[in-house]
Every structure is written in structure tokens, then in C-alpha cells.
């Protein structure tokens, strides 16, 4: 019974279905439970949240990653699967705490002041949620002070800053400087990304990591996670 449910969750993650309203690749999926509904059912059946994550979500995302590597899946497919996992993780979160399972980590993301372009940040957020991180999205056009205030209050392990414009990437430097002035710089790893950003720029402003795209952002987070206490 539990095995069937985990298998169904896996299948629906691979199909990228968040809810019963979503299409999959196979015909006739609309109306059948998606990953959100299945996760709730699994919990109701008493299935261990850790099993759901490890054998449902993670194994499914490995398959999705493989399909992407061999170009069977496009980026929208990958994101749909990650979105499904992210939505289900929100459902699981309170149960994880109850079960004493340590969350993977929390990240605050924001597009910096002066920049309204948030597609990249949103894609990264979906992928991070899909990878099991808790993501708090401050939105776009966010001042350095508002970002630092959020870091001081929420105490995330990571801060992700995004910019599309060359003229706004300077706000990343200002934000990192303000983190230092506020005494919280050593409490958070700062990862930056966006079209005008490079590894060199990241180093020059004292960021801890740079992701050239959403996938690299996740890899950088995973690498930094080994050095971060949850």
C-alpha cells in the first residue's frame, strides 16, 4: 500500500503534476490526484515523511535530471517537476519538524533595488524548493536595508541575490557591505546570479557563490551546505 503510494508520487513528480488540475505527459491525467493531493493522502496513511522525500521526491528528481541530461526533457519539464516537489514540501514541512527531521536549509531570495526582472530569481526559487530547500522570496526591487533586515530576522543559512541589469548589480555589493556593517555577514552565505554576473564579479564583491543558471545555483547551494550548520 505504502509502496504503491510512493510509486504514484514518483510517477507524478516525473510527470510534473502539482495538483489534479495539471496535465502530465500521458493522456487522461487531469482530474487524477497530483503530487500535492498524493502527499496529503500519504501523510493520512501514516507514511513516514522521510520516505516520501527520499524515495518519492528525490528518486523521481534523479529520473527527471537524467531525462533532462539526455534531452528528453526540456527546462519547462524540469521546472514543472521541481514545482511539484516544492509544493509538496510545503505540505510536509510541519510534519518534518514534528518528526525531528532536520530541514535542508533556508534561503531568502530577492531581486535587488532598481531591478524589476524576476524570471531568473523565480526559476531558481522553483528549483531550490524542488531540491528541498525552504525558500522565502522577498520579491523584486528590494533595497539593501530590507534584505539585511530580513536576514537579521529570519536567520536563513543562505541569501540569494538576483539582477538582470548591469546598472543594478552594484546593489549586490551594497547589500553585502550592509550585511557586514550590521554584523550578520558571517551568519549567511551569499549567492548571486543574473545575466550581468560572473564568477569574477562575485569574487570582487565578496559573495560566497555564483550560479550561472538555476541548476548551478542548486549545485552551489549543495556544495556550500556542507560547510553550513543548519
Amino acid at each position: 500500500m505504502a509502496e504503491d503510494m510512493i510509486s504514484l508520487i514518483r510517477e507524478n513528480v516525473i510527470q510534473g503534476r502539482v495538483t489534479q488540475d495539471d496535465e502530465g505527459f500521458d493522456e487522461g491525467k487531469v482530474g487524477q490526484p497530483g503530487v500535492s493531493e498524493l502527499t496529503e493522502k500519504a501523510l493520512a496513511q501514516g507514511i513516514n515523511p522521510e520516505d516520501i522525500i527520499k524515495r518519492g521526491f528525490s528518486e523521481a528528481m534523479v529520473v527527471v535530471g537524467q531525462k533532462f541530461e539526455i534531452e528528453e526533457y526540456f527546462l519547462p519539464d524540469m521546472l514543472a517537476s521541481a514545482e511539484a516537489v516544492g509544493a509538496a514540501m510545503e505540505i510536509l514541512e510541519p510534519h518534518l519538524v514534528k518528526s525531528g527531521i532536520k530541514p535542508k536549509g533556508k534561503i531568502i531570495v530577492a531581486t535587488v533595488k532598481g531591478d524589476l526582472h524576476d524570471i531568473g530569481k523565480n526559476i531558481v526559487s522553483i528549483l531550490l524548493r524542488g531540491a528541498g530547500y525552504t525558500v522565502e522570496d522577498l520579491g523584486n526591487n528590494i533595497t539593501p536595508q530590507a534584505i539585511v533586515d530580513a536576514v537579521a530576522k529570519e536567520r536563513p543559512q543562505f541569501l540569494g541575490l538576483s539582477a538582470l541589469l548591469t546598472s543594478t548589480r552594484i546593489r549586490m555589493r551594497e547589500t553585502i557591505e550592509l550585511l557586514t556593517e550590521s554584523g550578520v555577514r558571517d551568519k549567511v552565505k551569499v549567492i548571486i546570479g543574473g545575466a550581468p554576473i560572473s564568477e569574477e564579479f562575485a569574487q570582487s564583491i565578496g559573495a560566497d557563490g555564483y550560479g550561472a543558471d538555476g541548476f548551478e545555483a542548486v549545485r552551489v547551494m549543495e556544495a556550500l551546505s556542507t560547510n553550513v550548520e543548519g
Binding site: 510534473g16 519547462p76 522553483i126
Partner: protein, 508 residues
């Protein structure tokens, strides 16, 4: 099921009143000054139907000035079929060209002497000896039977290439005027199951080519139902002169009721007025008089309105295909053909430059897009032609295939239905309920159905343009695909019954 081409909503450059003005001007041209005719039979045919025939002499040649009343022309043109079928060895590859339906098909063309190979070489920077880059270099070769067969194999496997109009002039040492026609038709037919079109080098070879085509099509009756070949004739040399041999060729083909393109290619500024309205009035007159001749010879001969108007360069008076006027002339001609309800054989996709690259892409894309938008039933010259029409480059043909497929996506009809609007509204509603506000999820089914255009197939990711390298790779892959040759028994029959075929052709 014929090839579908692409149905367009035609771009109308000329208003109806312009079309009618040009029509009247064309008829006025045919009445006065008329057409200078160097073919006795054609002069007699028009004379028998009421044209004024004035014997003349030009140099050492006898000729006749034909002053043709408009009614002779309009009645004859009216008799021409409005739908022409161009058959194919594989009938799924046949073309139905309906003069009233703007469904566009794409074909190669010309009879280029040169074949341009692309080689890839590695270059080392003089400034930074550690910096290497792969770059294409070009080698001009002469057209041969082997290369013509290669081009036909490419046509077979490239999706946008609807019909094979021989792009290469075969210049092998053992090819003569007397055996050229049978060998070029055989090399083409044996390497593509799509429709094969060509001009005829020697009228004496017409019946051998027809005999071969009938055998391959499965007999005389099958060939009538499924004419796997057709011919192009330039009966009128601009300005307004019936050429003796090509006119006789057109008469003989019409007598055999085989599909025929009546092609005219005046050059604006040298052999036709350079201004649009004058050019189009003249070429229209030249095509109409050719079409009329075929119908007076054999009412109902399937003919295509073959418009190949070009503009002269002002530095050397060569043809120019890259100038905007070329597109204007051609679009106008498409509208004239539609006015008569005749299927239009139009022209697009040629570059003035000698090698593939930026200039080639710019020049040919203008006409690939604009002439397609006009809605001719058949666009020839659309694959691989460079240096005007003197060079055929197979790598360029691969690029053209990809570009035409993009053009076809661009010109396809919009689909606005209540159901699709409802689906869109539902997507908007759902996306506004998410934190990410992205529609990416809804792209997936459209991606799978082919509704969304894939990335440019020759895309370069790094700081070097690798378009030609990638196109060359694709060409090599295409040439490795299995050919669809004629079956052995039929080939043996062809070789037994058709004289002039070279034994080595069996290898092609």
C-alpha cells in the same frame, strides 16, 4: 495525400485596380508592338487564330512580328487548367498546385555550373598562437552527374524541399548534348521520390525522357495520372521574342500534354523596364503569350505561370536577386497569376554573393519570406543557390531547408477559437495564483506537439559562429541516410528501352 506546403493569407502588394491596369497594359503590348517570333510554327498557330503576322528579317534569320488581339490571349489563357498536378514516384510526394489556393511549395532550381563544397579547417591566431578556431573554407567544383544525384538525395531527406528542380548542370566528360537529358532525368528520378522538373537540352531527346518516365511511373496511363516529371521552357526571350528552339520544345511538350512551366526572366533595367509597373506589364505579356501558345496547340495543357523577374545591377548588368525590387517584381507576378487563376511558379531564395554567410542569409531570407507571403504555389531557386544562380552549395541548401521551415511557421494561419481563448484565460488565472508567476508549465504540451519552434538548429553557444560547421555536419548526416532508388527490375527495363543512358548511371 499530396505534400501540404504551407497555406498563407496572401500579402497583396497591388490593389485590384493595379492588377487590372497591368493586365490591360500587357494585352496592349501583345497587340502593339507585339511579339517578334523566330518560330514558324508558332507564327502560323497565332496567324490561324486571328493574329496579324508580319514577315520580317533580323540579321540572317527569318522572323514574324505577331500583333495579337487581346481576346485570343484571354480566351486561350482561360482554357488553361487552374489546378495542375505534379506527380511523384512516391505519390505522397506529389504536388497539387491550385491557382486559386495560395498554398506554397518550395523547390530548387537553376542549372548551376558550379558546385560549392565547404571544408572545415583549423586556423591559429597570429596574435595568440594558442588560440585555434575551426572555420569553413570553400572549394568550387564543377557540376557532375554524381553531384546531381547527391543533390537529389538531399532533396529526398530535407523536409521543406518539396520538389526537385535540377540545380546542377552535369558537365562530365562522357555527357554530351545528345545524352544529357536522359542522364540528368535518370540521376534525379533514381535519387528522389519527389517530383522532378527540368529543362530540355535537346528536343530530339524529349521522347526518350518521356519513355523513361512512363516506365518508372508504371506505364503510360499511370504517367498520365501521376506525371512524375515536368518541363520548363523559356519560350520568350525578353523583350518579347519567341525563340525558335524553345518555342518548338514548348509546342511538342504541349502536344504530349505534359506539365510545363512557361518561364520568362526579364531583367529590369536591361531587357525590361526597371520600374515595377513596366517590368510586370512586360513579363506578364511574355508569360501570357507563352501560355496562350500551349493552349492553342493543345487546349488543356497543364501549365504553370513561370515568373522569374530580376533586376540588373548597375555596375555590371548582371542579375541581382538581393535587391528589394526583385521581391516587388515577384510578388506582383504572383498576384497577376492569381488574377488569371493559373498556378504560379515563382522565384525566391537566391543570393548575389558567392559563398554562404551573412550576406547570403540576408539576401535570400528577404525573398524566402516576402515571396512566400505572396502565396505562389511553387517557389523555385529556393535551395542552395549562390553567385546569383551560377553556384549550388549543398551546405547552403541545408541552411535553406531550416530557414524555410521557420518561414513556414511564421506565415501559417493564426488559430483563434473560443476553446483556445478559454484555455488561455484558465492559464492566466492559474499562473496569477502562483508565487513565481511563470507560464512555463503550460509550454510543455505545445513543445511536444511541435507547435513551438525549436531553437535554431545551427546555433552557436560560444564566441564563434559555427553555423556553417553545423550545417555541414547535418549535410553529411543527410547523405548517409539510405537513398530510395528505383527498383532493380524497373531500372533494367529503363536501360533496355531508353538509349543514351551511361552504364555507370546504374551506380547512381
Amino acid at each position: 495525400m499530396p505534400r501540404q506546403g504551407i497555406l498563407v493569407e496572401p500579402y497583396q502588394r497591388l490593389k485590384l485596380e493595379h492588377v487590372e491596369q497591368i493586365h490591360r497594359a500587357s494585352l496592349a503590348i501583345l497587340a502593339d508592338p507585339g511579339v517578334l517570333c523566330f518560330n514558324r510554327n508558332a507564327a502560323d498557330i497565332f496567324g490561324d487564330h486571328g493574329a496579324e503576322v508580319l514577315p520580317m528579317r533580323q540579321g540572317s534569320a527569318d522572323c514574324w512580328l505577331l500583333k495579337i488581339p487581346g481576346k485570343i490571349i484571354t480566351d486561350a489563357v482561360q482554357a488553361a487548367p487552374k489546378v495542375v498536378k505534379l506527380g511523384a514516384r512516391d505519390e505522397n510526394n506529389c504536388l497539387i498546385l491550385d491557382g486559386q489556393e495560395p498554398r506554397v511549395h518550395f523547390a530548387s532550381g537553376s542549372e548551376a555550373n558550379n558546385w560549392l563544397d565547404v571544408d572545415v579547417e583549423t586556423f591559429i591566431s597570429k596574435r595568440e598562437p594558442g588560440y585555434e578556431v575551426k572555420f569553413p573554407v570553400f572549394r568550387v567544383q564543377k557540376g557532375t552527374v554524381d553531384r546531381l544525384a547527391k543533390a537529389a538525395r538531399m532533396c529526398e531527406h530535407l523536409d521543406s524541399w518539396d520538389s526537385f528542380l535540377r540545380p546542377v548542370n552535369i558537365q562530365d566528360d562522357d555527357i554530351t548534348d545528345d545524352n544529357k537529358d536522359v542522364n540528368k532525368f535518370f540521376a534525379s528520378l533514381n535519387n528522389t521520390t519527389k517530383h522532378v522538373m527540368s529543362g530540355l537540352t535537346e528536343l530530339s531527346q524529349l521522347d526518350n525522357v518521356v519513355k523513361m518516365s512512363r516506365i518508372i511511373a508504371g506505364g503510360e496511363d499511370r504517367f498520365k495520372e501521376n506525371p512524375i516529371i515536368s518541363f520548363i521552357t523559356c519560350v520568350v526571350k525578353s523583350p518579347l521574342q519567341f525563340v525558335d528552339d524553345t518555342t518548338q520544345t514548348a509546342i511538342e511538350i504541349a502536344r504530349r500534354n505534359i506539365p510545363l512551366v512557361i518561364s520568362s526572366s526579364p531583367q529590369g533595367g536591361s531587357t525590361a523596364p526597371i520600374r515595377e509597373e513596366g517590368m510586370v506589364a512586360q513579363i506578364n505579356a511574355e508569360i501570357l503569350v507563352g501560355v496562350a501558345l500551349t493552349q492553342l496547340v493543345n487546349k488543356g495543357t497543364p501549365v504553370l505561370y513561370g515568373s522569374v523577374p530580376v533586376r540588373a545591377r548597375m555596375d555590371d548588368l548582371y542579375d541581382s536577386y538581393g535587391v528589394p525590387e526583385f521581391n516587388q517584381y515577384n510578388i506582383d507576378c504572383v498576384q497577376m497569376a492569381r488574377y488569371y487563376g493559373l498556378p504560379c511558379y515563382s522565384t525566391g531564395g537566391v543570393s548575389d554573393v558567392k559563398v554562404p554567410g551573412i550576406q547570403a542569409s540576408v539576401e535570400r531570407l528577404f525573398s524566402h519570406i516576402l515571396v512566400t507571403l505572396a502565396g505562389p504555389q511553387y517557389i523555385h531557386y529556393a535551395f542552395g543557390l549562390l553567385e546569383r544562380t551560377n553556384t549550388f552549395c549543398p551546405v547552403q541548401a541545408v541552411l535553406d531547408n531550416a530557414h524555410i521551415s521557420m518561414v513556414k511557421r511564421f506565415v501559417r494561419q493564426p488559430i483563434v477559437t473560443a476553446d483556445r481563448i478559454s484555455e488561455s484565460l484558465e492559464q492566466v488565472r492559474r499562473v496569477m495564483g502562483t508565487s513565481h508567476k511563470l507560464y512555463i508549465r503550460f509550454v510543455r504540451s505545445a513543445l511536444r506537439s511541435g507547435e513551438i519552434t525549436p531553437p535554431y538548429p545551427f546555433e552557436s553557444k560560444d564566441m564563434v559562429d559555427e553555423t556553417l560547421l553545423r550545417a555541414q555536419q547535418q549535410m553529411e548526416e543527410v547523405l548517409l541516410l539510405p537513398p530510395r532508388h528505383i527498383d532493380k527490375v524497373t531500372i533494367d527495363r529503363v536501360f533496355q528501352q531508353v538509349p543514351g543512358l551511361l552504364t555507370r548511371m546504374m551506380n547512381y
